[in-house]
């Protein structure tokens, strides 16, 4: 199967489950980016792919490099506000992706 291309995904969860330390049972639709960016690779990426596998080792290098463009948010939902279980209001910025790109 052809690897899924980079796209926006959704997951419903509570604020507490975000792992940012807030305690609130409010739920939200967390949007995030996942998938492959194979189509956007350049010769650089193919070279890095080879270097990561064998090239760097032969040259005694241990650098960590990315062998392809990353599937990342190219825009965020500006902010998300909620009331925690102690009825205090909080606003979290750039927490959910608006759209994704390689």
């Amino acid at each position: 199967r052809r690897p899924k291309p980079c796209s926006l995904r959704e997951l419903e969860l509570t604020v507490s489950e975000l792992g940012l330390g807030y305690d609130s049972d409010e739920t939200l639709l967390l949007r995030y980016c996942s998938g492959k960016c194979l189509e956007h690779r350049q010769n650089y990426d193919l070279t890095m792919d080879h270097m990561v596998r064998t090239g760097f080792k032969k040259k005694g290098r241990k650098d960590k490099v990315s062998n392809g463009p990353c599937c990342r948010p190219i825009a965020y939902e500006k902010q998300f506000s909620f009331q925690d279980n102690k009825h205090l209001h909080h606003t979290v910025r750039n927490m959910s992706a608006k759209n994704c790109g390689c």
Binding site: R1, R2, P3, K4, K36, L38, E39, R41, Q42, N43, D45, L46, D49, H50, R53
Partner: protein
């Protein structure tokens, strides 16, 4: 006739400070072109020689250049050339007075800031021969005997008064040259013939006698013979060529070849010079012939077998000025006259003939029923096969198009709808039709069992038609094929055999994509890839069906840049690739898949 001319284009000599007016420097020679000519020598008055030409005098009759004034120190300082010890004075001499300086000979004098060396300081060689070699003389053939060069070094005439200097000329092959003992001029003693010898290698022997010794010094001199158009064209072999025009009848097509020889030269420099120029004229006044045919003449230089003398070969071909219609069927004889325009004699013309037979082209299929097998599981754009009228591969100059027709026009609507299953297409520059799957739904319908079509071929211009029957035998049961999903992706997107052979790809003849496993190490034409049909993709040729959709065979058709080690096809596509080549729509990559089943890194584990 060229008129009086200088056989020698350039003279060199050295002049010194202190040399007095009247000192002879050198002698220029012009040769006659006709008996009545009488050379008159003049110095050219041009802007570049104005400054110093007045220091010199050129004797009108003898061509002897001498000093008009004594050369002083400040004459030397006057000319502002960068060099410090020697300055160059250039003069131009012409023969017979004309307003402007036409075909001059160039005299280059090294003006030395010192006095003339005395006899003791003068090397014998300096007495005998000019300091710097002069350019080799070029004598026009068929002309008159005459002097072509003064051998004595005039500037050294009186340097060693008690030496006597004399010259004679030798040559290992007989050469009509001698030295005039009184004037010490080198003389050509008879008219020359370039077609016999293009150049004479002479040995000039200078004998210096004093009371105590005699010394001989020699220097070789090449005398070139210039060509003039004194040979008529001739045919060596046949003056007639038989030509048959049949399948290839395209505009600008060239046919046949007739050769005309000329022992004279035909220079190609400067480009449009008239010398030894050949023209041809078509003698037929039949308008059809004049509108249809042209003659193309080219020439090349070759060396004669004997003596290696250069000569010219003219090559004439018949050229079509327009495409010929397929029905054209006629026999014509073309007569054309080739004329050596600069040959003075009467026989400067040669008559040549082309006997031309133009055969009609029959648009017909060879009488065999074309059978094709096809699986019902074939994908959209799967190629079924080719159809082509007889000899179509050799056609040029006209176009045959193909269309499919239903054999039974009154068949039921259901039966009629089966016929959308197959289509036919053709590339602009191809002569055959390509059959392909046009509607997979119709292909899978159980009632669409027996696909028989009429293929009609039509010649575009004359509308002549021919038709044949084709029979497409469908294998695999209809219902099984219909269950498989109809969505077709591009086979080329698959990077591994497993994925490739398990999916239905666009253009897949068997329904499944086919994997080609390359074996070579580096970048190779036999790269691994997933293809809809290995017979036609990849084959470095983006055919008519493949160009219908970029996803069918991007390996042959992509115009985008390819990433990874590869070599591009001539027009587009991938000619050679490294490891496995795969494409996401038109964006293609070629990279090494280290292990047959690519490393399933942590990424693919989680998905």
């Amino acid at each position: 006739a060229t008129g009086l001319y200088f056989p020698q284009k350039e003279y060199f000599e050295t002049v010194y400070v202190g040399q007095v007016a009247g000192t002879p420097i050198l002698q220029v020679h012009a040769m006659l072109d006709s008996n009545s000519e009488q050379p008159r020598y003049y110095l050219c008055r041009t802007s570049s020689t104005i400054r110093h030409s007045s220091w010199f005098h050129l004797d009108v009759k003898t061509g002897i250049l001498s000093l008009n004034k004594t050369l002083e120190e400040n004459d030397f300082a006057l000319s502002n050339q960068p060099s410090w010890s020697v300055k160059k004075l250039v003069l131009l001499a012409m023969v017979s007075k004309k307003p402007q300086c036409k075909n001059p000979t160039r005299i280059t004098l090294d003006f030395v800031n010192a006095t003339l060396p005395h006899c003791a300081q003068t090397d014998l060689k300096e007495l005998c021969f000019p300091h710097r070699d002069t350019s080799n003389p070029h004598i026009m053939e068929n002309r008159f005997p005459g002097a072509l060069r003064q051998l004595r070094r005039l500037t050294r005439l009186h340097v060693c008064p008690n030496y006597t200097v004399s010259y004679h000329v030798e040559s290992d092959t007989p050469a009509p040259f001698a030295v005039d003992e009184n004037t010490t001029e080198l003389v050509v003693t008879a008219p020359l013939d370039r077609e016999e010898s293009e150049c004479y290698r002479l040995l000039l022997v200078c004998t210096v006698r004093t009371e105590t010794f005699i010394t001989k010094l020699d220097a070789s001199l090449d005398v070139f013979v210039n060509d003039e158009d004194d040979n008529a064209p001739y045919v060596n072999g046949t003056d007639t060529a038989d030509i048959i025009i049949s399948f290839n009848r395209t505009k600008d097509g060239s046919f046949g070849a007739l050769f005309v020889f000329d022992r004279d030269l035909t220079p190609i420099f400067p480009i449009d010079q008239p010398y030894n120029k050949y023209v041809w004229t078509l003698l037929n006044n039949d308008t059809w012939i004049n509108e249809t045919f042209d003659i193309k003449g080219t020439f090349s230089e070759k060396k004669a077998a004997v003596g290696g003398i250069r000569e010219t070969v003219h090559d004439y071909q018949l050229v079509l000025k327009r495409n010929l219609v397929v029905t054209e069927n006629r026999t014509v004889q073309l007569d054309f006259m080739v004329n050596d325009t600069t040959y003075p004699g009467l026989e400067g013309k040669v008559l040549l003939h082309f006997n031309v037979i133009i055969l009609p082209v029959h648009i017909r299929f060879n009488n065999v029923t074309h059978m094709f097998t096809l699986t019902r599981r074939a994908s959209l754009y799967a190629q079924v096969g080719r159809v082509c009228v007889e000899n179509c591969q050799q056609f040029d100059g006209f176009r045959v198009t193909y269309r499919l027709e239903v054999p039974d026009k009154n068949a039921s609507v259901e039966v009629q709808s089966c016929y959308t299953a197959i289509g036919i297409t053709q590339a602009p520059d191809e002569m055959w039709g390509l059959l392909y799957v046009n509607d997979t739904e119709a292909l899978r319908r159980p009632e669409c069992e027996d696909l028989q079509y009429i293929v009609v071929a039509q010649e575009e211009h004359t509308q002549l038609e021919a038709s044949t029957q084709i029979h497409i035998i469908l294998d695999a049961e209809a219902n099984k094929a219909s269950q498989e999903s109809q969505r077709f992706l591009s086979c080329s997107a698959n990077r591994r055999r497993g994925d490739c052979e398990s999916v239905r790809g666009l253009g897949a003849t068997t329904g499944r994509c086919q994997w080609r496993q390359g074996s070579e190490k580096g970048i190779s034409e036999n790269y691994s890839t997933c293809s809809p049909d290995l017979r036609t993709c990849p084959d470095s040729f983006c055919d008519a069906v493949e160009s219908k959709d970029p996803s069918i065979c991007p390996q042959d058709c992509t115009k985008e840049t390819v990433t990874g080690g590869h070599e591009r096809g001539l027009r587009n596509g991938i000619q050679a690739g490294y490891g496995t080549c795969y494409c996401y729509s038109e964006r293609c990559f070629c990279e090494k898949e280290d292990i047959e089943e690519a490393i399933c890194d942590d990424m693919c584990k989680t998905i």
